[in-house]
Symmetry: C2
Amino acid sequence: MITKEIAQKLTAVVGNENYQDSKAGRLVYSYDATPNFQSLPDAIISPRNTKEIAEVVKICNEYGVPIVPRGSGTNLCGGTCPTEGGIVLLFKHLNKILEIDEENLTVTLQPGVITFDLIQAVEAKGLFYPPDPGSMKISTMGGNINENSGGLRGLKYGVTRDYVMALEIVLANGDIIRTGGKLAKDVAGYDFTRLFVGSEGTLGIITEATLKLIPIPETKKTMLALYQSLEAAAKSVSKIIASKIIPATLEFIDQPTLEVIEAYAQIGLPTDVKAVLLIEQDGPPEIVERDMLKMEEICKQEQAVSVQVAKSEEEAEALRTARRTALSALARLSPTTILEDATVPRSEISKMVNAINDIAEKYNLKICTFGHAGDGNLHPTCPTDARNHEEMERVEQAFAEIFEKAIELGGTITGEHGVGVMKAPYLEWKLGREGIAAMKAVKTALDPNNVMNPGKVFAKDSRKRVVVSK
Amino acid sequence: MITKEIAQKLTAVVGNENYQDSKAGRLVYSYDATPNFQSLPDAIISPRNTKEIAEVVKICNEYGVPIVPRGSGTNLCGGTCPTEGGIVLLFKHLNKILEIDEENLTVTLQPGVITFDLIQAVEAKGLFYPPDPGSMKISTMGGNINENSGGLRGLKYGVTRDYVMALEIVLANGDIIRTGGKLAKDVAGYDFTRLFVGSEGTLGIITEATLKLIPIPETKKTMLALYQSLEAAAKSVSKIIASKIIPATLEFIDQPTLEVIEAYAQIGLPTDVKAVLLIEQDGPPEIVERDMLKMEEICKQEQAVSVQVAKSEEEAEALRTARRTALSALARLSPTTILEDATVPRSEISKMVNAINDIAEKYNLKICTFGHAGDGNLHPTCPTDARNHEEMERVEQAFAEIFEKAIELGGTITGEHGVGVMKAPYLEWKLGREGIAAMKAVKTALDPNNVMNPGKVFAKDSRKRVVVSK
């Protein structure tokens, strides 16, 4: 609870206009993009700079007020839902690109910058920031860093973590620290840069970041391979990579998802095939040409019923956009859409997709699967209705089994969405009790009063979200 | 001190043949490749598997016995010198490559595997493990991971950290945890994989690792650009990268180093120029050809007095080998060789090299500089004599000033060698008191009894190694 005294102290730091606690204002920040999680914050605060953030954090730390840093709230794990109340901290005043350094190939920015704005700004200078999460048009870089966001280009280019070189962080005690630098090599102390990337706001508040850029690829080509068998599609993925080609994008879409996308986007996608691979390669023209030919050949050898290379950039863009609309398209089907991101080693994709289908059948649910096949990062998605409690219970049970299967196959419960509240009950399956204990020790060391986005990552107890009968 | 009781307990775990505490045996492990650091361990232990390591760690943790994990001891920061006694833990029984997974492009291995053996094993399958520290012919992968080793290919391919996907770790309490997986994407909990990479054995014992591999580049070309001005060489580096070429290798060698290398290797290196760049590009033949031509042009525009492309792989290999012998060649000059690795943003190289030369002159020392120009990772090297205390004091002062300058230019005190004992007094310059306090909190959380390689990374107090008059 925020007492009058605390509110006064906070307002003294940020000014009246940057502090609100009206019911309407609090309602707006009571949920994020995750279905089924809502909880009112006590207030919303918008500090104007790092120093103010440090002051705010000190006050919250002193009075035990939870702080939930929030960008655009596009995360899918309940990570920015203020489940324990407290204040939601916004970055609307920290939304500037501070520098694009063309000599060192870096960009330095504040957390409130929109991902897509960053991408456009650096591309205007012939540079490339590869991570491209599905929400990039509205997500903020602060959110991307806190969640270690992935995207469609992860296979070849890695994820957000691979591009963060330096951070400015406000710790729970109000200390401001800087990690890393514009340095390709730096081993001075522990790798706090990467410890904080993906820590979901539970260890500190990121207030500035320097990111690595690379030269923009000269060209890009796109093709669609159609299959009447999941195994054939999965085998193509493995064979492409085993033949030493690392494509920029290697996306998988199953038939139910295809139908939904086509109904929504109407760009003439085939809906009578069992699976589609969307494959892209970028780089120097001669290499792209060579790789595309080789991949086309592999897909055909592996029983693709058709392989079509996009004839123009417009056609390619239409395919990419179609893939990107998967979530929006699926969301039209029913009131609630549960999108997950169980991830397995690339070699286990066909086993995983088959398991998802079996589990969907077992629980009498519709589960559509698409995702980043090259990464083994799948998005089984269930259109459902949160008001139907009986069905929701089946949904929970089905996803619990999906996570269990992913781990059995050497995978993980979340590839790119984060743990937040949603996956916290399952984290122990991946990390073991000992792993969780070690991570909790680090959390407690850096945030002894548990004010930094409390209730996230670690479950209150170690029980499963629902009891799964095995 | 190891009492008879402790020794008996340890021997009961590993067997008599894997425990030694003879004076001769202890002497062998009293130092590593770092000059001027020596301290006797109480015993040397060689556990046969992870379970035994966990048992050993539990005993040491109970009795407060320091544990220093050690590969080949090639590190240059005193990181494996048992400065507080205790036991040196060897990995001679954990030295196997467990699996090369061609479908997921990973290799899983034990810490005792020699880096070069790993590189050769994966190259035999057409795969590539890029990090290539100077000591790779004798260093172990466990050492590389603990130190986050770099090498000549860091600019294009990154460092050890960028290839570690999963770890098995024995924590100070004896718990065995596993981080990550064969997964391009995994955000389940904090990034403990990268927290442990480069943690110098101070947080736990790494007992197994899964590393990412990439397809081996099809071809490689090598050239040498000669300069009569440091600035011209540095400007070439910046301009190559600003023109969107990321070469595989971009090494800088100054005149004093050149002279020493040529005297040692005798392969006809020019010794009448002020600086040399050794440039390599790898990849598809047509791209390598194109990039080499473009880089040749840039070097010439930037006043290179000569640019020579190696005519054969033998000639290229001779140039690479010459560069790799820099340390050995310099070590011939005098009884003691102090090799440092101050690192700056790439754009600041010429300022840094000039500063090093000024500092050498000020303290009347010979300092030769070579290093990874593309990374801004320089190796100022001072041939000296540890027995000459007056000179050694000047050496210390000179390096303190070099570190200070590196930080002033946005750099770091160590790019790839690690902090160990050697750099610990300077760490605060890079991280600030608050940054060190946060890292110490993490260390204490995971190793409350301070048995994991104690005395490394964090200095006993925050004073400088020597008092620098400003």
